[in-house]
Symmetry: C2
Subunit: 420 residues, 2 copies
Amino acid sequence: MSKKNAFYAQSGGVTAVINASACGVIEAARENQDQIGNVYAGHNGILGALREELIDVSLESAEAIAALRHTPSGAFGSCRYKLKSLEDNRAEYERLIEVFKAHDIGYFFYNGGGDSADTCLKISQLSETMGYPIQAIHIPKTVDNDLPLTDNCPGFGSVAKYVAVSTKEAAMDVASMCATSTKVFILEVMGRHAGWIAAAGALAQEQEGDAPHIILFPEIAFDKEKFLAKVQKTVDEKGYCVIVASEGAQYPDGTFLADAGSTDAFGHKQLGGVAPTLANMVKSELGLKYHWALADYLQRAARHIASATDVEQAYAVGRAAVEMAVAGKNAIMPAIIRGEGSEYSWSIAEAPLSEVANVEKFMPRDYISEDGFGITEAGRAYLLPLIQGEDYPPYKNGVPRYTTLKKQLVKKKLGTDFEA
Amino acid sequence: MSKKNAFYAQSGGVTAVINASACGVIEAARENQDQIGNVYAGHNGILGALREELIDVSLESAEAIAALRHTPSGAFGSCRYKLKSLEDNRAEYERLIEVFKAHDIGYFFYNGGGDSADTCLKISQLSETMGYPIQAIHIPKTVDNDLPLTDNCPGFGSVAKYVAVSTKEAAMDVASMCATSTKVFILEVMGRHAGWIAAAGALAQEQEGDAPHIILFPEIAFDKEKFLAKVQKTVDEKGYCVIVASEGAQYPDGTFLADAGSTDAFGHKQLGGVAPTLANMVKSELGLKYHWALADYLQRAARHIASATDVEQAYAVGRAAVEMAVAGKNAIMPAIIRGEGSEYSWSIAEAPLSEVANVEKFMPRDYISEDGFGITEAGRAYLLPLIQGEDYPPYKNGVPRYTTLKKQLVKKKLGTDFEA
């Protein structure tokens, strides 16, 4: 039996640890060369497959691959591109099969979030739907932590740690100057529909009453009067008020507090601007001096302060995907399962892709405090293990020494271009 | 001869390492107990002196003081409060002398920037102007790096490292997704009149052409056409463009690109909003998809990624201030002097306060590239040593274990309150 090659691609927004998953995939594939031939990585995700732009991973040294473990962003390029359904764009699937066939690809590893799980599911069905035998395994990745079945998503732990550390540091700054300066500080973080990232701000607290004093979740309808009352009360009592606001914070009717107006390739609205919106509210209604920060990409790229637990898990799901593939599995995702007991432990299990695709996991109501402005002990117990441990990258010239790959493309075998 | 007590206060915007200077002051004072009695810290800076709110530092353990070295923000509280001239508010000076006399204070250590150096100078002249004998030593601190005579200012190296690391990480994120997503990323950083912090973004570059592709300095008048042309050219050539913009970026007539409209106690305009202003420009004129981040307090509070060189220097100027005081000096500031030769070295010398107060040091033109959008080799040679080395704080529960002091106030001896 001739062994098949593997295709690996990164999809959607990148994270501080998606390359650690790539590292796990590639290292495990190299250890299973009896069953997996070469690994081809998609140049800019699935577009690399459609355009026959395949990066020859065999040309990358073991050192370079090992360094992926501490390198943020998507080393092979990622993309926001969602395959349409088979009915709506059969040509795309025919093209994929043409490329897979030309390069003898029998394993498909897709590293992404909920939208990507849907794409991966469609690929896993190609043997049924179009007679092309392929095993497709989805590798979970998303800072939003919104995938179902897995206890948490690789990428989230590191952004959570960044937000907890940054909130703690900025809050100390504000506290030390509030007597004569800024009274209200707002940090806007990612999280379009799920408030997991904002919730992580609460991990800055050492004891009750510590900053952040207010967290705004997309799951809790924004109540302006209640918000302003809490801000004023906190300033009266503490001298200052620290707020962590999710970019997806919204009014009861579902309108986002700030809507930048444009949409991405998945049809999601591009958000940004909750912090200045709240700041203006605080200034005009309460007359309090404010400052605000918008972490944007800084938070999801912050490999310098990555969670060691997150790095470990990202690497492990990459390896597990390959192990599942060589065991003959298809249409699944390695999921992180939390162990029972008070000591945190985790293992990896198989989750069926059909139950993962297009499902968003929101913050459970019992993780959010009754007043809607904080988290409960249950929420804290869930979040805290995910930010444990530091995993510092090596440094050179004062900045992290991240790796850059050769990214040499395989010679095209098809004479045709594909417009994608 | 009876030994005198010392007063120490933090002033103006806090930094990641101002407490390292406090640590240096207190540890050195404790080693010189033959000449210095107790150290009293101003609760919220100079306000603590005016209000007779003096923190009894002798109640803080050696461990707590040592932990100040890795704790950001102002542990004793800082403030934005500038003493008026003797002519304009003699009552303030009389009050200070009253408090100093009541608590037998003969040493005044003031930890701040240019405005604070001016205050410190006025205090140093109290023996001449009002007959109260006191030695006043200024300890340099400012993220803006705009004090004269000293090679650099403690606080700057750490914010510079934060900006370099963050720019590098965010740029990698953008690079990996630009094929289908964000083309232009803008990071807004501090720096009202001097572009030192923005310049540090360039330290993210490993080779020519690397991000950031554009840096906007307050020292270089903003030219919209030239800026947009450079953005478009960079996107055409690289696929994306990363911009680091100083909050103080301004038009040729001196108008700030973004002016939040309010002013602080020193009369400085509160800025913020250069990044969204530039983003709108890029979107409306070039039609390019953008993202932007505003680091705000996160940058100056980021002790988790402090420069080891900066921590070392901040501690050293604190110690040096005490050593200068016990040597009988007055009206000076310990300045950092860079050694000759290609290997970076530094030492501490005395700078006369009269030449420090109210002088701002801007980026020299020969540190800025000819097109005004980057730094030169001379600029890089100056900046690079300042971000060397990592000095990680200890962690507990996934976040840094920063110290909190008891901050117990000394019993007031004066029956009068002072409205400040």
